[in-house]
Symmetry: C3
């Protein structure tokens, strides 16, 4: 780890140092776990008192904070500055470029300059790997796959034949990209006949995909993950799905076949989307929701079947009052019966 | 890709060509994405107008359609014919048989004729692999495993010792077959003592298993996946589960230990089945349902806890009306109170 | 498999044999599937009649059972004795220690005595592997990883750099331990900027982790899995999660970032826990529940959003009666309207 002065760190983060400019910073941490030479951050003045009591040497704070009980770096976006500080003090380890002697590289493969191909990697024929891309140990890359420059594929990933992955992507361990879509048709004797999945997967630039995800190839055409979209672990993406740009897809989400997701959509953990559903740009689906109908742009939905989140909250509150309401209903019925009896009207018709 | 005439394609699909029989077909696609020499399909006359406006060169249509604005192939089951056309124009790539020099093959392993063993594959002792089976790169096959003829195991699969896989199966990348069932018993000091899982897994013929599934071995005896069953990605199958024939199990379904699933059952995405539950033949479980009791043959269930789907729909509709019903209940109470006051009866006993 | 007499087995299990002490036991099974020389078990006298009708040669029974229609072994904890019997008759296969010639072992790696490193394994620089640990085929272990003695890592596991795994752990195939946490911050142009994940994962002693789980490294500091905790397949553990000791985490559970789980907690299948939630010691979360608020020690919660299980059951029962209650509400309204009309009061104000 490097050691930098408060002033140097502030300059690199585009912030302003307030305090002893020669203070030496040796690491970055959350304030809860910071050591005595660490830089921490708060993204709200509300958290400042707790952070001031921490062991941190200095704090990144919102620009609106003018001074504090500790040395500070004032930043327009403290969380972004913190991310940059982490990068500064713990830059990503890059392996030494080259092809490990145990890797098996097919025929007519094109490897760009500075490419890393780790131990036991298997690359099929006619694959193309862009400059400075990294294919880590035990990864499988099929025939005719294209991988863009600066993309990192961590150990033990499977990229089936013909898949195209853009630039600066990050694919975590255990992912399977381009496996067959789940398509079967009933045969004459009730058996399930496989529909060949002859399409592919296209992953655009700057996409990150978490561990153990499964992204199926299209029946024909392509399953597409749009530029800048970030996906957590154990996500399922069915065949012919189209995901827009800059989406956030949290762990264990399931997207059925032919789902279309607009730009900037957020899908929270364990949500499921039924097949052929369209989710408009900027919409959000809450955790564990089950979406069975189209969702309009900008809408927030939750529950099963998913509905506008505000309605769903109102319904959930009503459901919690339901046992009491049923008791009230019984009491009312008795009271109405009494009134009827008093007036000599007919008896309670419900048993 | 081959190029065939409309007449030739129709003959191979068992359909009837209507239109210029010498028309050259060069590929197969959905009509939405078809190019000008592609064959597409519609499985309902309702979709015909849209398909007629597409770029497709010709259409597979239901037998009842006698003619159309494009050349057609009339078929009894257009979807099945489409699957066959995909197979015709994009036959599955088969690797050249043989054992890659980087594969590690144990002692007393029997490999049938035309078997493919890819790079970096590891096969344990006494395993048996049937004729023309394919074990793709980086796959692990344990001791005494049996794999039937024509089965395809894609890259990076784990088959633990003693597992038996039938003929013509397809196992996608990332699957783990035969890992230990989740069995523990409380020890004297509150710790969890492992129950050794000494059973196995039996996968019958013609089964397909999607990417990154986990199928646990039985405690004793065997976990069984019945003939012709098709499983999507990221499915969990607990120990001692018995799955019948020709079932469809969609992505991210979870089957707890000792579940029994009859023939022809459909389990939709993210459904979960509690341990020791029996699901009768031909039943269906809707997406995200949580099954906590046995399901009778042919029944459709949904919700949590899962109930007959029609009842569940009725309840969901009622729940959506609940906030208004609670307001109505309050209004009624006021009206009853007024009546009581008018008649000089006791006050509202509920506050 | 060994063959032992009833007397010998009883002695090894700490139980008491009743019946022909020289009876030869050749295997262990559930009574449903037992063969004629197998030992089975019942953990309740209620199951004894069924077990007595089985083919089993002998039964492990609760101490309170004095005699039965078959030879028995009386044990204080029959389930525990059964686990021990399974271990006795089917001891875990241990590979022959040594480093396979196809393994790639980095610089300055320390391997303890009796370590097994299987075919195609890749170990990074400066990793340390404790005595008698097993790293099975095709596993990846990153730089500076520490693995404790007697730990078993099954084939095809990924352990990213710097992760620490304790003694006597079992990690099943397909797990990814130490992948990046899912942390992004909005950049100036709406893009998601990665927050470097520079923390690690610490797995304490005696932990078991099922197939295809994903356990993310912390942003800073460490994600921790406490001693003796057992995890089923396909579980998601987000960054900075802290899991206590002796927890049971069933398949497909999802833990969001910074969740804290106390000792002895049980999380049932497909449950999801929102970020920064604390679950107290001894609490239990039912299957498919969605936990959005803290759970107190010892509490059982279910549903979405999760609530005390008893309340949730009451609410579910009320919801099932809701369609009938709405009908009753309509009837009551008509009756009140009639009463009002009879008394010359105002009309029904709700349409």
């Amino acid at each position: 780890m490097p050691a930098l002065t408060l002033e140097e760190v502030a300059r690199k983060l585009g912030g302003e140092a307030v305090g002893p400019k020669e203070l030496v910073i040796e690491g970055v941490s959350s304030y809860e776990t910071a050591g005595g030479s660490d830089l921490a951050f708060v993204d709200s003045p509300r958290l400042l008192p707790a952070a001031e009591r921490s062991r941190a040497a200095a704090l990144i704070v919102p620009r609106e904070v003018a001074s504090a009980a500790k040395p500070i770096i004032r930043a327009d976006n403290p969380r972004l500055a913190f991310a940059q500080a982490l990068e500064l003090f713990s830059p990503r380890r890059r392996p030494t470029p080259g092809v490990h002697p145990t890797a098996v590289v097919g025929a007519d493969v094109q490897l760009g300059g500075q490419v890393y191909v780790g131990p036991q990697v298997v690359i099929g024929d006619r694959a193309r790997v862009g400059r400075a891309a990294e294919l880590h140990a035990l990864t499988f890359v099929g025939d005719e796959v294209e991988i863009g420059e600066d993309t990192v594929i961590y150990p033990r990933v499977s990229v089936y034949h013909g898949v195209r992955i853009g630039k600066r992507c990050v694919i975590h361990s255990g992912c399977v990209i381009g496996g067959d879509g789940f398509g079967f048709v009933r045969g004459a004797h009730g058996e399930h006949v496989k529909v060949p999945q002859v399409g592919t997967v296209i992953i655009e630039d700057d996409v990150e995909i978490g561990a153990n995800c499964a992204i199926d190839r299209a029946t024909t055409d392509a399953t597409v993950i749009g530029r800048g979209t970030k996906m957590d672990n154990l996500v399922q993406v069915g065949h012919n799905v189209k995901i827009g740009r800059n989406c956030i897809i949290v762990a264990q989400v399931g997207l059925s076949g032919s789902v279309e997701i607009g730009d900037g959509v957020v899908l929270a953990g364990q949500a499921g989307i039924a097949d052929h559903i369209t989710i408009g740009p900027g919409a959000a689906v809450c955790a564990q929701a089950g979406v069975t109908g189209d969702v309009q742009a900008g809408m927030i939905v939750s529950g099963y079947p998913a509905r506008p989140h505000k309605e769903q909250l109102k319904t959930e509150a009503a459901v919690r009052r339901l046992p009491e309401a049923l008791a009230e209903l019984r009491r009312l019925r008795r009271r109405v019966q009494e009134l009827e009896e008093r007036l000599g009207l007919g008896q309670d018709e419900a048993s």
